[in-house]
């Protein structure tokens, strides 16, 4: 077991040493892989940020409930408590008539005119925010219908049209990312496979000799698998760097746009989980690509 590990470790380091002997061509291969991996990674970062930026929209996903005028405040509070007990409701905010008027005075600019009224024309209102897990349009409609049946409820407002549109757009984008990722992963497999194929051709004599002295297919293949692993891992590191560069280049302009809209939104780079996933994916693709290529091409080389 220890001997087995030692041998693998030696091959692992040995293949790295071999790659470092041809720094330039190794770097070029890794760069091509890096660019291929950077494209879906950048898209992913973009979408993650977009989701974060539109997080505020989710808050806009509210059901506005207006109670009948002259409903006592205690009853409004009871109603709010009752609704908030539902599993699919994250939060219920009670806006009393007095508070609503105050806010309206502040925001509308009709302050003076409103002050002239001797009676508050506004009813109590409830802002029902559904739980994030229950935002499908069907579910929201069902929730709204249930609220509508409650006593003292006058009007229930739910605009689901834009939610549907947003969901559809996000769905389309994420599917496009999946397709792009699959295609680019295939590209990485081809790049690694081809590089390994050339590598095998260049080392034909060595492979023949190794087979002559009793090296099995697995033994001969091992260094090529590790080369593939290094190519993939190196490519993933470059992809990470490219993504980080892209994000840092976009950070200032995006920040300016955000500040113009009065937001403190800041572009986030790759988090630890995504970075790990990127590196593992790169290494795995390199390994698989070299495995496919080496298994196929090493069979053809036999001593003669």
């Amino acid at each position: 077991m220890i001997a087995w590990l030692t041998r693998h470790l030696q091959t692992l380091v040995g293949s790295l040493g071999r790659l470092s002997q041809q720094k330039f061509s190794t770097f070029l291969t890794m760069l091509v892989i890096g660019i291929a991996l950077a494209l879906p990674t950048c898209l992913h970062v973009l979408v993650t940020n977009a989701q974060r930026a539109t997080g505020a929209w989710h808050r806009a996903l509210e059901i506005s409930v207006f109670l009948q005028p002259q409903t006592p405040e205690t009853e409004a509070q009871q109603l709010a408590d009752r609704i908030s007990k539902r599993r699919d409701v994250a939060q219920v905010e009670l806006i009393t008539a007095a508070k609503g008027l105050e806010e309206f005075q502040r925001q509308s600019g009709f302050g003076e005119a409103l002050a002239a009224l001797n009676e508050n024309p506004l009813p109590h209102a409830l802002l029902v925010r559904p739980d994030g897990a229950y935002t499908s349009t069907d579910h929201l409609a069902e929730l709204a219908a249930w609220i509508r049946e409650l006593p003292s409820v006058d009007i229930v407002q739910l605009d689901t049209g834009w939610v549907e549109r947003l969901n559809a757009i996000l769905e389309a984008i994420s599917r496009a990312i999946v397709i792009a990722t699959a295609l680019l992963a295939l590209g990485v497999l081809v790049i690694v496979g081809n590089t390994i194929r050339l590598d095998i051709q260049n080392r034909r004599a060595e492979i023949e000799i190794t087979k002559l002295v009793g090296g099995s297919d697995g033994f001969v293949r091992r260094p090529f698998l590790y080369s593939g692993l290094w190519y993939g891992l190196g490519g993933a590191v470059l992809a990470w760097l490219i993504t980080a560069l892209v994000v840092s280049a976009l950070r200032d302009p995006v920040g300016r746009i955000a500040s113009l809209y009065g937001s403190s939104f800041e572009l986030a780079s790759l988090d630890l989980g995504t970075s790990t996933k990127l590196l593992l994916t790169g290494a795995a693709l390199g390994w698989i690509g070299s495995f496919l290529s080496a298994t196929r091409h090493l069979r053809d080389i036999e001593p003669s």
């Binding site: 023949e208 000799i209 190794t210 002559l212 002295v213 009793g214 033994f219 003669s304």
Partner: protein
Amino acid sequence: MIRFDHVYKRYPNGREALSNVSLEVARGELVFVTGHSGAGKSSLLKLIALIERPTRGQLIVNGQNVAGVSRRKIPAFRRQIGMVFQDHKLLYDRTVFDNVALPLVIAGVRTKEIGKRVRAALDQVGLLGREQCLPLELSTGEQQRVGIARAVVSKPPLLIADEPTGNLDPDLSLEVMNLFRRFNEVGVTVLIASHDLYLLDRFPVRRIRLENGRIVDPGNAAADDAAPLLDPRKLLEREHGAPS
């Protein structure tokens, strides 16, 4: 150790390299295979090392019928055969040590043990202290000795050599042959393909003579060749057949 039973080898291009070869080499023998180039010496060795497979007939090496050795089992089969080549077949980007260690690394021997056995093998061929050289820093004769050290480092029961002295001058040839004899003395079966007349002259051992892919002299009785043939004319006769 080796038994050919009516073995034929025909290559895809139609050339028949061996026809109806039957011969037996006992464990512990030292045997020359002689004949012109193209007589089938190399084909004979290639069949033994399973580089080629017989077209017809049965071949048994070290108790194993080669017909029963599947492609996947060839590596393990070859590990019991030490092979020496005319062109050495060394890895020129690796040190002498790494070259000799290769069969042990393949066999999964522990690192510490590898060091010991590689040095022992290099000591036997007189190259101890040159472990860290690259093959091209050595002379041809020394490179051939590295090849021999690699062939014997895993202590195979059978050693086959294809024209091992082909590129060497007479003194170096003798040196290499003496190495083979020493391995033979400790029980290794040695089979050497050679058309080196000078060498054949010096070593009175059994010789199998091939001509156009047929055995013209199986050299069965070792006594037959006990005395070195000193007369060059007789030697030529032996090598090329009596003039008709």
